[in-house]
């Protein structure tokens, strides 16, 4: 039927998306990658020459901060993803299996509501809760549970708390869709065959929801390793991630070429991780016939 070479007339509807993709992804990435191999800006500086020195600067890391920044970025991304999954999965499961439509709508609203307020607003909200004179520390000191405020922010802990809060809805929405499509009777069949509730979940629902776990984790990981505002506000001087480093290079060091190299490196590293992760889960689910 559709084996003829002629594209469907509906294909034209993809044009705006394709245009956006080129304008906002391919083009900027091309410019960034090009910049990363020049000594200066070749457009207004005729003396700019091709060089690998920005990459060498990162690889040899004489200042001793770039590798740490990359590692911190990945670590924060990974921990944020795992915690989001641990919080998001039970919530998504509960939502997907909820009988009452009203209840479902209310929980969905509660999940989506944080997404309706800006990232900056949400991050500031966390600051009022977590800072030294914030809600938690004030209470702890008042109750005499501690005499010094706990270091709840301006560190990785605070950064991860805020990132999880911001990205959990993405995990929940992705998982709810996938879990909701798994027939409840499969778990019931497992139970009638002698599996307890937990066993039935592990044998049936969990493996069938692997695609959702994969998609949700990739989404949250990609979002949190590229986060800039939250680590900057919550991390203080303790946290330096690649996106923060890139912003520094562009904004205060006026070195867009090195920034470009950092951008390319971040993209390549996350791409490698995504591909590896995809492979592993595809193998797992392939064994179970989901591939």
């Amino acid at each position: 039927m559709t084996t003829r070479g002629r594209p469907s007339p509906i294909a034209w509807l993809l044009a705006p998306a394709a245009l956006l993709f080129v304008l906002f992804f391919v083009l900027p990435f091309g410019v960034m990658a090009a910049m990363s191999v020049f000594s200066g800006n070749p457009v207004n500086n005729p003396n700019a020459f091709l060089t690998t020195r920005h990459y060498e600067r990162f690889v040899f890391d004489t200042a001793g901060i770039y590798h740490d920044a990359l590692w911190a970025t990945l670590r924060i991304g990974l921990i944020t993803t795992i915690i989001s999954l641990l919080i998001g999965y039970p919530l998504a499961h509960w939502m997907a299996r909820m009988q009452s439509r009203l209840g479902h709508a209310l929980v969905l609203m509660a999940v989506i509501a944080p997404m309706l307020t800006g990232i900056v607003v949400r991050t500031f909200a966390w600051m009022t809760i977590l800072q030294d004179k914030g809600v938690i520390n004030t209470l702890l000191i008042q109750w005499g549970l501690t005499d010094k405020p706990l270091p709840l922010m301006y560190n990785e802990f605070g950064t991860i708390v805020a990132l999880v809060h911001i990205y959990v809805p993405f995990m929940v929405l992705t998982l709810t869709g996938v879990i909701g499509r798994i027939d409840e009777r499969l778990e019931q069949a497992a139970r009638s065959l002698g599996a307890g509730r937990l066993r039935a979940f592990v044998e049936v629902t969990l493996p069938l929801s692997l695609p959702g776990i994969l998609a949700g984790s990739l989404l949250v990981f990609a979002l949190s390793i590229s986060a800039y505002v939250t680590p900057s506000l919550m991390g203080g001087t303790d946290v330096l991630t690649l996106p923060m480093l890139i912003a520094q290079q562009v904004g205060t060091s006026f070195n867009p070429n090195f920034a470009g190299a950092l951008g390319v490196i971040l993209l390549l590293v996350s791409l490698a991780i995504v591909i590896a992760y995809n492979r592993i889960l595809a193998r797992l689910s392939g064994e179970q016939g989901l591939a």
Binding site: Q188, A190, R191, S192, L193, G194, G196, R199, L208, G289
Partner: protein, 326 residues
Amino acid sequence: MTSAAIRLEQVTKTFDGRVVAVDAITLDIAAGEFFSLLGPSGCGKTTSLRMIAGFEHPDSGRVYVGGRDITDVPVHRRDMGMVFQSYALFPHRTVVENVAFGLRMREVPRADIERRVAAALAQVALTGLEDRKPSQLSGGQQQRVALARALVVEPPVLLCDEPLGALDRKLRQQMQFELKELQKRLGVTLVFVTHDQEEALAMSDRIAVMNKGRVEQVGSPAEIYEQPRTRFVADFIGEINILDEAGTARALRPEKIRLVTPDGARVAGRVETANYLGGSTLLRVRASDGSSMLVRETHAGERASRTPGDLVGLTWSDQDTVALEG
């Protein structure tokens, strides 16, 4: 294989505090019996079955299996086989893995599992399809896998919720024979939910006809068909004429009516429609007083075919009519 008797005692289930799905029903199902729950959609058949399986807990009343009160026993300890309408096969598992599931949960040794799975697959004629995924099977094959998966653990009770509903007519009839034969061979107590009265009549030892969460009548297929106790049962099972005789309603099956010459017949009228059904023809006769009756003319002997417009007389003997309550 062992089998167990089932008793539902004054069992009631309400959903959302409003919908009374099952209303104080009491049923006694004998060990080794093929027992059907028959009724229109929404009458509470599935809910009753799910209370036996343990997926729903009754609001009140008790459930007994083999004399033991299992009302509060969780599903996975009830040791019952269940076949779902949609089969509910595990899509990520092969045929063998599906069938082996219950044995694995019971921690049966590996070698025994292999042997018993092979035997169960042979029993339902599925040998050779071991490594297929459910999506690679036809509806009938999926049905058999579901059956093998439920039976391989040798449960004393097998529960089936409209298991043949998704099959086409020919295959359904074949599966009816096979399922009944299998049930008799294994001796398992089978509770069978269906809304198809022909299916229930063909397969069951006994039938409970349900209506609006209540049991209207329990009996053998012949009793249900020939001695319907209520108007609902008479109406739901096959075609029926309801006669009003001195204020009491009496049921009369269309095949009990004989066609005679109009003079001196109990009822005279004109044939309004004639539906040819192969083995018989179902006539609708409009009497002179405006009432209409259904008459089945069987084609066993010489076939005197009536066509719409023909003037006919109807007669029957009083012992063929059955008094109805309500």
